[in-house]
């Protein structure tokens, strides 16, 4: 197991390197001069050149890359071109809001997915099962920005149950925080909830048809014990993978969801910076989300082996 982890981490290094190259190159090779965007009416070439020089933009690209990577590795992501705030600071500031939102969405999609998925597997072809399966197809096909707009229309404007957007820090006003997180968390979790429900349902159905479940029932074990101790434990293994891979989907979803609900998180920062050509911020956020996505896939594989002792990494591959 340890050897497997080491192997995986070593293999991650070249990919991580390429990720940094892509993150760096993506916006640098693009047309459009960030200095011109932010200099306002200043068109004096000398001042513009001085600005370029102070930002290091006059150096050859490889030099810029090495300098950027060197600073990045030390955790220095530079300063935002727009706000002059330290990029690391700007991200850390907004991270709690994003973590709270993605955490709530994940919690919701996993618990509801687990409960509804199990119920619909137990009562196959029932009305509940049909409803759940149809909602699944709807959930993956509805764009989350449209869902968000509709939820605002129904729950904030027509029914006036929840506010249409904005954020209240958890420490200052826990109740208001809860009220404001409901709609964005629902919006963000729709797609993953659908996938989770489908995955729980199909893997439970798969497990139910196996011999050891019949044996467990035959030896007189109560139905609840059969489901919880035998079926769920094995049936959930594929679910772990799916949930692990959803970290990426949640990062993506947060970008849009935060935009709609004026949620002051990293996702909103990403979009604002992208539209404003704020290179340092974009690079840092793109890089961090790619690396955390890579780490989460690694974690999924490790948890996988721990959950299912039959999977041996030393022999395989």
């Amino acid at each position: 197991m340890t050897r497997y982890i080491i192997r995986r981490v070593v293999l991650m290094v070249p990919v991580a390197f390429l990720v940094t190259v892509i993150a760096f190159g993506l916006l640098r090779l693009a047309p459009g001069d960030p200095v011109l965007t932010f200099s306002g009416d200043v068109r004096d070439p000398e001042i513009l050149n001085a600005m370029r020089h102070s930002l290091g933009l006059d150096q050859p690209l490889p030099v810029q890359y090495v300098a950027w990577l060197g600073r990045t590795v030390q955790g220095d992501f530079g300063r935002s071109i727009r706000t002059h705030q330290r990029v690391g600071e700007a991200i850390v500031e907004r991270l709690p809001a994003t973590l709270e939102l993605t955490g709530a969405a994940l919690l919701f999609s996993v618990t509801v997915g687990l409960i509804v998925g199990t119920l619909s597997a137990l009562n196959r072809n029932s009305a509940l099962d049909l409803l759940a399966t149809s909602l699944t197809i709807a959930g993956v096909s509805i764009p989350n920005f449209f869902l968000g707009v509709m939820l605002i229309l129904i729950f904030s404007l027509l029914l006036r149950v929840f506010p249409p957007g904005g954020y209240a820090p958890l420490i200052d006003d826990p109740l208001e925080n809860l009220r404001r997180i409901v709609l964005p968390a629902l919006t963000l979790s729709a797609a993953t909830l659908a996938v989770n429900m489908r995955q729980v349902r199909s893997s439970l159905l798969d497990v139910f048809s196996q011999d050891y479940i019949r044996t467990a029932r035959a030896k007189g074990l109560g139905e609840n014990a059969v489901i919880v101790k035998h079926a769920l434990k094995n049936g959930l293994i594929p679910v772990v993978t799916i949930v692990g891979l959803q970290v990426g989907a949640l990062i993506e979803g947060a970008i849009i969801t935060e935009q709609i609900f004026f949620w002051p998180g990293v996702g909103k920062l990403v979009v604002d910076s992208l539209l404003g050509r704020d290179y340092p911020v974009v690079q840092a956020t793109v890089l961090i989300s790619a690396l955390s996505y890579m780490l989460s896939t690694l974690l999924v594989d490790i948890v996988y082996g721990w959950l299912d002792p039959r999977i041996s990494y030393s022999k395989a591959r």
Binding site: L18, L27, V140, I256, V270, L274, V286, A290
Partner: protein, 301 residues
Amino acid sequence: MTLSASPLEGTLVARPVQLEVRRRLSTQTLRRHPRLAIGGSLVVLLLCVAVFAPLLTRYDPIVGDITEALQSPGAAHWLGTDDQGRDVLSRVMFGSRISLSVGLISVSIGLVVGVTVGLVAGYAGGVVDLLLMRLVDALLAFPALLLAISITAALGPQIQNAMIAIGVVAIPLYARLTRGQVLSLREREYITAARAIGVTPGRIATRHILPNMANTLIVQATLTTAFAILQEAVLSFLGLGAQPPTPSWGQDINYNQRYITNLMWWGSVGPGVAIFLAVFAFNFLGDALRDWLDPQFRRRA
């Protein structure tokens, strides 16, 4: 040169062995796979709306009648009008052109580049394979949407750039799929036979490997079209796709969103439902095609 190198080709290995039964579309298959019929008709309907949009509506999607601004859905305007007096339904119909062409073009980019990368990596093996696949891994490491947004933002907010961005995001998918297929097919006897009589790698790829992958690729392309339409909608919603006044679903939702607070919902709901239907249609058709063309994939019910 290619031909003279393999004089025996066409006699000994006349045709690639059909590994999969060729499936014909008949009324019987449609009856046995009703989902194929449903998904198929939805997609055909969508294509018809896109092609015949000018015949289906008498309203100009770009120039509206300002005296009819912000009307709620009614007999004259089934989905109401926006703040410039443009018919929402007409814009939704014309918007399908953008969505479908982005779907078509970006999927083609992903398909052509991805399949080529996969073929080269799988066939060449060794260092080439290693390097290409690490690059694919690196592209896969980025959340797809974030990558698409970054590429579009970098190249500039234009619909062509959105197509490129979505295409690039789809490349790793096809590259991996193709490489896997090549690795499993290249050891088959008929491929070895073809190689033994001197058929060039390029010809083996096009004549022997690709035909055997066709079904898988068709299924994948259908599903990726759904994905591409969704991504285009997001990019347009953020202002990175088609630019006004071109009708585009994502951008129209964003534009009309400002009237939601006055409970004027139709401007956003029309295009939103259209995106939902289009994505649903391609997902549904893709799933049905997979059941039909790719029986190994079929789930035990």
